[in-house]
Each structure stands twice: as structure tokens, then as C-alpha cells.
Point group: C2
Amino acid sequence: MGRVPAMIRVSEIFGPTIQGEGALIGLPTVFVRTGGCDYRCSWCDSLHAVDSAFRHTWVPMTAEAILGRIAELSGGRGLMVSLSGGNPAIQPLAPLIAAGHAQGYRFALETQGSIAQDWFADLDWLVLSPKPPSSGETVDWDRFAACLVPGPQVVMKIVIFDEADYAFARDAARRFPDLPLYLQPGNPVVEETATPTGLNERMLWLVDRVVQDGWFAPRILPQLHVILWGNKRGV
Amino acid sequence: MGRVPAMIRVSEIFGPTIQGEGALIGLPTVFVRTGGCDYRCSWCDSLHAVDSAFRHTWVPMTAEAILGRIAELSGGRGLMVSLSGGNPAIQPLAPLIAAGHAQGYRFALETQGSIAQDWFADLDWLVLSPKPPSSGETVDWDRFAACLVPGPQVVMKIVIFDEADYAFARDAARRFPDLPLYLQPGNPVVEETATPTGLNERMLWLVDRVVQDGWFAPRILPQLHVILWGNKRGV
């Protein structure tokens, strides 16, 4: 008998659609959302991939099966694959990345930076999203720094709800001045059936805030998919 | 007597606000819009900087005076300066770029690519926007290629209103496969007092279009400033 392949817990696979956030905004992408998270942010917009109450919906899949589904969705054409969650860093994703690269796919992983993995080095992009105070979580900056492996393009993305989050972002930028930084206004209304409100106002506030401070290094970007599709899943 | 400094015709200088389009979307930027253009696109959203009927509003300024205004707006802090128009390539911008670099500013120039200048080599970013059939203009691809000087990061941005524009974009991508490409749905309602309509629909159509074709290289981005502020000027 051969070796049993490691199983990846998958919450959903969808796309191609455009990436709605951060450094790769606008890029056609297939999303692989894994199930399970070591965090539980108060405003989590992906509870279906975080809360263990949804565990029965997470399907254990081999890297091969996931790649098969990606190929089906993309017509076998290489494109960017976003690995998100939950926290995808707790899944055994190295075989998926290696096999996917061989087939012409590129991989961007999005994680809070609480758990580092050697295989981060094999990624094309690593998006680190340290969670600000409004999340209710606390960042361990040593663990975060351990994620900064050579190899991928590394960027930092921080969600901002209020002044405390903004101060957190300024501190994070001082800690890691070489990481390109993306600020994203928080979306307080995350239920799929709800219409997000006040998105423009929060975005304008954040733009005013950085301009007032003369802080011109970060990019400020809204969640484009929420503007275009609301909180609907799978788009 | 010293040499008379070359005058730059300026339509408006405003900011800092975030860049709303293309490769630098979300980045705090001061905009210097020059007056005068060799094109007259049917859907031009900056006629006040194009149509000679507005010529009396264009102010001849020295590079020094422009830099003084930029420094006033930015509190003297270095940031990205967008040189747009009109077609800024017809202005004598080399001294502005040189003096601005010395003061910590970076420069992105946006032009249709109809007129090449040696000083494009001094830019940080060069955004080439060849105009599609719906503009009523015709691209001279030899002149366009002459703009591709070594030095700046060069990207291509194409506005798309319809299927003919989309076919034009595919052709442009085949001609210049190494240029990162940004596709932008057109905004047919450009009057400042008007509320743009159908922006989401046009964006969704364009996303569907590239996904249907399995064309995963370009980024598809709306005009973020129009979503946030409508057609209002100076934001």
C-alpha cells in the first residue's frame, strides 16, 4: 500500500472571479477556502469556514482532487489560486502548491500570521493580515515575523473599523516598514442576506484619516466584491 | 538674464486623494492635470483639460511653482504625483520630474501613447492607455511602441465600452504581452452633476466576459473614485 495522502479540509472552491481585496485586486482568481481557524474574530465574514458548528460542511480532499476541481473551473488554464479560510496555514497545502505549479497555477495564501509553515516559501504571494483590536484577537508579533520567509511576494493587509485599529496599523507599519501595506475599511454587516451599509462612508473616513496624517505609504482599498455583489457567497 | 523656464499648462492640481484607477489604485496621490490634448475621445471625462474652449482656465506654471503647490498639498511629504491631462506628453515635464525626485516625490504619467518623449525614461510609472474604437480615435501602434522606453514601470490600461473595445484589448495584449494590463469598464455618464448609472452592471459584464474567454492575465478594475464620489471633480 502507498502512502496515504494528507487530506485538506475544504469549505468551498469557487471562481474564477476577480480578487476583491488587497494587492491582487481585480485579478481573475479561483478561491479555495479551507475549513478551520485558530482565531475567532468578532467580525469574521467567513464563519462558515471558521466555526466548528459548520464542520460537517467541510470536505476532506486530496491535493489532486482540489486541483481537478480548479482545472474544471478554469478550463485547465493557469491562473491565480487564492488559498484562504479560516486559516489555511493549518492545512497540509505543500503538495497542492507543488502539483499546481507544475500545471501552471500560481498561489496566493491569506493568513493572519499566527502560524508559520516552511512551505510558505513555495507560495507566489503571501498576504499577512494581522488582526486589529476590534477583532478581539491579540497578535503575537514573534510568530508573525516567523511567517516572513524568503520566496513569495509578501504584503500586509489590515482591516480597520475604528481609531484603535488605525493606531494598530500605524504600529504594524513601523514594525515592518518593508512590507507593502493595504488598509481595508471593515464591513460590519456580514450576513449573506444583508445589504452592507455605510461602506462608502467608512472608506471615505479612512482616506481622510491617512491624508490628514500625511501617511502616504499604504494603499486604501475597499472590498470590491462587496461593492459589486454585496455579501453573497461564491462570487 | 537667465534662461526663461519652460511653462507647463496646468488645468488643475488637487489631492492628496487615492488613485482611483489601474495599477496604483488606492495609493494616496496628488494629481497634476495638464491642459491640452492631441486626441478628442467621444467619451472624454476630462474635457475641461482637453477642449480648447476651456483654454482660458489653463494656467501656465513653472516646474517650481507646480512643485510648490504639490508641497503645500502634501505637507512637504514625498508621495506619488500623477501627471495626467489632457495628454501630459505634450508638456515640458522633464524639469518638474527631476526637481520633484530631488524632493522625494515619485511620478506616474498617464498618456494615450500617441507622443513619445525621451524624458519618459525618468518617470517611476508610465501608464499607457491606447484608446479603443468607441473613442473615435485610431491608435498608431508604431508611435505607441516608441513610448516603451527603459526606466519606468510600464503598464497598459484600456477602457472598455463594448465588444469592439474588448476585441481591441485582446489585440493590444497580443501586441504587448509583457505589459501588465488593466481593463476598466467605461463610464458613459461623465457630466459632473450627473449620477453615474450602470457602473456595476458594466463591471460585472466585463468580469463575465474575461472569465468566459478564460483570459486570466488582465486585472479588471472599476473607477473607484466614481464609485466613491460620483463624477465630482477634485477628489
